[in-house]
Amino acid sequence: MIKTILNSIFVEPWPFWAGGIVIGLLVPLLYYFYNTALGVSTGYGNLAKIIFRPRNLGWIKSQFPDSWNWRVYFIAGIILGGFLSARFSGRPVLTTEMGQFTTLVGWPALLSALYFFAGGILLGLGARIAGGCTSGHSIHGIANLHLSSILATVFFLIGGWVSANIIRILLMGGGG
């Protein structure tokens, strides 16, 4: 009995509702403990400051006076959570595999690296212009019934639908 429960928490993939409940609970928990909105992408500003050390960018100066604040610890925690999850289910420590991108696109390493880097640039730049990401807008914002976040999420989904289907047709041999 206990073994089955532990197994379904630590080894087997979770059903959608289990992930949704845990992720959704973070919204009230972050307010209860820290009066803070759930959000991840702003923390990339901390990382940009730590890595690029810009001296004269007004936005970084005003928004990120303290590089090593809680956002960096939250980011570090998410990385460790992914690490623990992979360890419990016995996955390899490092892998170049990326699902259907690996099996159906099959690009050489350098081209794949450039592709994901480009995708990352759009995510980082887009999140800042949009004022948030999937967690800040789509989960936190919609949970609080904010129209701005509903609109942002609609445009997230339009962008994703366009790029994923272009990739599907041009790079993955189309169809299903």
Binding site: G20, Y31, Y44, L47, Y73, G82, F116, L123, N165
Partner: protein, 138 residues
């Protein structure tokens, strides 16, 4: 427990949940857009409903944090370019099969290509900071 330690702990729970439910899998995000797999839609909708109920319960109670501070819900306003930014974000989401939270879980799982997405996000944020210098409305 200090604030940083608390966020570190909640981050672990977040990353663990993202990874266990499969939100850090390229195929689950790609499949949500191509109609092959709608599991992620279920995850996001459940999270929204649970978040909604949780915040309502906090407000129906004392409406204060654990330390007695009044809870202030952060409200993101849209600027002139926000929806264009959201569309760019979406294009990146569909390309990389990751978002700013799930890519971190990918890093922990040892997905090497996720490291490129992660690096791109930091660089993209830096590009924003540069653009913002001459475009305050951005």
């Amino acid at each position: 427990m200090g604030k940083n330690a608390g966020f570190f702990g909640l981050g672990i729970i977040f990353g663990f949940a993202l990874s266990r439910v499969g939100a850090s899998e390229f195929d689950l995000i790609h499949g949500m857009f191509t109609g092959e797999d709608y599991k992620l839609v279920g995850v996001i909708l459940t999270a929204i409903i649970v978040g909604f109920i949780g915040v309502r319960m906090l407000q129906a109670g004392k409406g204060t944090t654990r330390s007695g501070q009044k809870i202030q819900i952060s409200h993101k306003k849209l600027g002139r370019w926000s929806l264009l930014g959201a569309a760019l974000f979406g294009i990146g989401w569909g390309m990389a099969g990751a978002c700013p939270g799930t890519v971190l879980a990918q890093l922990g799982e040892g997905k090497v290509l996720g490291l490129l997405t992660f690096g791109g996000m930091i660089y993209g944020t830096y590009i924003y900071a540069r653009l913002k210098e001459n475009n305050p409305e951005l």
